[in-house]
Structures are given as C-alpha cells and as structure tokens.
Amino acid sequence: MDGRAGEWMLGTDPVPAAPYCDPAYFELERQAVFRRTWLQIGHVCEVPEPGNFIVRPVEVANASILITHAKDGRIRAFYNVCPHRGTELVTETDGRASVFSCRYHMWTFGLEGELRAAPDLENFFVAKEDCGLKPVAADVCAGLIFINLDPSPAQTLREFLGDIAGQLEALPVAKATTFSEYVYEIDANWKVTYDNFQENYHIRFIHPRSIAETAHGPENPFGYPEKFAFHGWHRTATLAMPSNSGPRARPQSVNAVAFGALAQMAAADGFADSPYSREYYALFPNFFMLGLPLQPFSHCVMPIDAGRSRGVIRLYWNGEDETATRRFAREYILGAARDIHTEDRCVIEAGQRGLNSGALTHIHFQKQEVLCRHLFHMVEQHVATYLAQRAEAAA
C-alpha cells in the first residue's frame, strides 16, 4: 500500500476516544492483550553466558519476570516469585548466579527453575518437584527475548511474528553484543504514546530541526513513508529515501563526521546493503524496531496504567567501542536519537491531557495515520475475543 497514493484499508470512520483514556478499557487490555501476547522484554546480549540473569518488571501484569541463561544454553523466564508463600525472589536487576535463594526461608532454586533445596521440606505436604519457579513462556528472535504470560500461548513466537521474523533476523539487532539505552516515564496511555511514533505527520512540526530540516524536500514535505504494509497483528512503514531536493545534511560539520563514521561502521559490519534498511517495524502490541543500520534502535512502550507508561529505547551495536571513531559515532547517534524522542514526549502528554478531559468522543486518523488505525483495530479484536470468551465461560 503506497503511503502517499491515498489508498488505504481499515475504514475511514472516526475512532472512539475511550480506548485511549478510559481506565475500564485499560483493564480489558491488561487481560486481553498483555496477558496473552508475546511481549519483548530483553535481548540475549544481557544474558550472554550461562549463569547470567536479568529481572524486568511488567507493570501491566503486576509482575516481575526473572530471565535466566542456564548451562543448557536455553533462555528461560519465570515469575520472580518464591512458590512457598509468594515472596519476591531476586532483588537485583541483573547479575550472575548459580542459584537463587529466597531470603525469607532460604528455598533455593537453580537456573532452570527447579527447587534445589528447602529447609524442613519433609514437613511440607507437597513434592519437591512441584515446587519449582512458575515458568513463563519465553523465546528469542533476532536476539530479542520475548515472553508470553498466557499459560498456553495460542501461537509460538515465530507464528506470532510471521514473515517479520526473518526480516528481524537480518537486522543489526540480531548480531548485537551490546547496546546503549535511555528511558522515560510519561503521563500518557501506551497507545497515545505509541501512536506518536507510528505517524510522520507530526515530524515537520515537532522535529523541525532534528529531522525535517535535512530529510524532507518539497516533493514530500511531511516526510511520509514510501509505503505501509500489514503483517497480521503487526505493521511496517518503508521510510522514504532522503530528499534530493531539500537541504543537504549539514556540511563540514560534526554531524557530517558522525554520519560518515556511522555509514562506514554499517558497511564494515555488513549492513550497508540490507534490504530492510528503510523498514520501520511496529510489532504488536508495544514494540518498535528501526531497520536503519545507522540508527539501529528499538523502542518499547510499557503500560503502567490508563494514563501512564514507561519507555525503553535502545541502540544495538555489534562489538564494543574498539576505536575512538566508533565510540564517537555511537555517542553522537545516541544523543541525536534522544533529542528526537525528547521533542516528542511533551506533546504526547499534552495529547493525553486533552483526551482525559473527556472533551472528545472520537478522534480522527488520516490516511497517513493508518498505522494508528491498524493498532486500534488489533487491540479491539483482542478485547472483543477476550469478552466473547469471558461471556462463554460465564454462560
């Protein structure tokens, strides 16, 4: 579907505003979306060796998830909860361990989640083998670790990702051994936040210096993508080629040195001719990945409540900063990307304040905001399915 030709699917009607601010709808999303969908939570480079672990919060599920790399090489996920009486097990956010011991009564678990030892276990009325950590479905694609809180996920991760899985595996993130990161919290619904990053309509107004000035020429003044595509629950935008008629990238400048170095790095790392270098991946429900090797960033929007979210933005790299030029280029692009996301944050919060007022019963998505419309429909489908299943169970 051509992003600029005006063809679109998914309808043209105004979209209800309630899903973007109503706490009751958020409660439905908690169950319908976030407890039964594959959620990106980490990267294998955070747990590179047997014994490594990380602990990550999933606020929307009131959960803390422990992810381990065991001797058998598998990445596993568990609720970070001692099965004795529910005490939070691991208090560190990451580290290396051979066992995890609950400080309350010293129940001790291995990296595969099995109960290794518990004092006075013979006084319990439960078998040792039934006392392991509660597992959470986990799988890896392109180095990205995903979990699914559904005890019986309807799809495997690869089924869920579909044809996007192969594309992700060709991106720099799949070979990443390290990353840089910045984070934010925001007084905005996860979809209001996420939608900002699914449309280019705002770029010339919110990013006049950081993006529009050097990227957009008169033939594409809004910097709209070349095309959109839908992949099941997910969607992509193919970014337009940089303008040949607009202002050139800032010459004889630090910016030019940095981007020259980034291009050389991408070429040296084998990503200069990637077929997906202009793809922007919006994975359901809350994850972005940019295919551009000069700025290989991911962005995850974690819901906290109906009007609050947490964002994690990472730039993935292959290898440490072995040279000064690599270090300089990576520092520069981290700063540049952070500036862009900083410019967005304030106006997103302003959008949420307006929605929270209840002034609007509906909002409008134009043709070039079709990715936002797609997300709305995908969430609605999940909520409708959940409600139907709940009604059937109650009948």
């Binding site: 990353f179 840089s180 990161e181 940095a258 170095a261 000064a324 270090r327 520069y332």
Partner: protein, 112 residues
C-alpha cells in the same frame, strides 16, 4: 608534569577542565546545564580538531589510552553532544534541555 592533551591539541587545553568528563550521561547533562556562550566557545575551537583527534586516537586500542588521550577522547565525546545543540537545535536548545531531564541515559557503550 604530564600534558593534559596529546601534542598538537594545545588550543583545546582551556576546555579540558570543564568539558573532558567521563560518562555519556554526565556529558549529556553538561550540555543541558551549560550556557549557550560556553557551548559555542567550545564548539568553535573543538570542531576544527575533531577529524585529527579521531585519527590520532584511532591508532591505539581504546582501552590503552593514557590520560592525555582519554582527555582528548572525552572532549570529542562532549563535542558530540554540544554539536547537537549548536548545529541542530540552535534556538530550540534551551527548551529541549528542560525536557531532556525526563530521558535519563541508563546505559552506554562509552560508560553511562
């Protein structure tokens, strides 16, 4: 007394005390709290030494820099942040600096 910078970078010596800081988050914060005049003064001198600085530093593994080389590396990394203010944001920089406090850098390949 050891030199604060490698030979050939004397014009940058006045900036070492303020701008040659360790850590990406610290350098980003310094950009945010510095004055426009200070940023411009540092940028005007440092940008003309960037290419030569990286060429010199690239000759050695990054984990073997001596203090003078590390100072030069940190100056160039600070220049990365300052140049975003001077070349890109320009008169939007002060507004951006207020908002950037909400985007803490938590991890960096250069050390957060």
């Amino acid at each position: 007394m050891s030199a604060v910078l490698p030979a050939g970078f004397a014009p940058l010596e006045p900036f070492v005390a303020v701008w040659a800081v360790e850590g990406t988050a610290a350098r980003a914060a310094l950009r945010g709290i510095s004055s426009e005049a200070d940023r411009q003064a540092f940028y005007d001198v440092a940008k003309d030494h960037l290419v030569a600085a990286l060429a010199l530093l690239d000759a050695k593994p990054i984990d073997q820099f001596d203090l003078a080389e590390q100072n030069l590396m940190n100056l160039m990394l600070a220049l990365a942040h300052v140049s975003l203010a001077v070349e890109v944001q320009r008169d939007h920089e002060s507004e951006l600096a207020l908002q950037a406090r909400h985007m803490p850098i938590t991890r960096s390949t250069a050390g957060a």
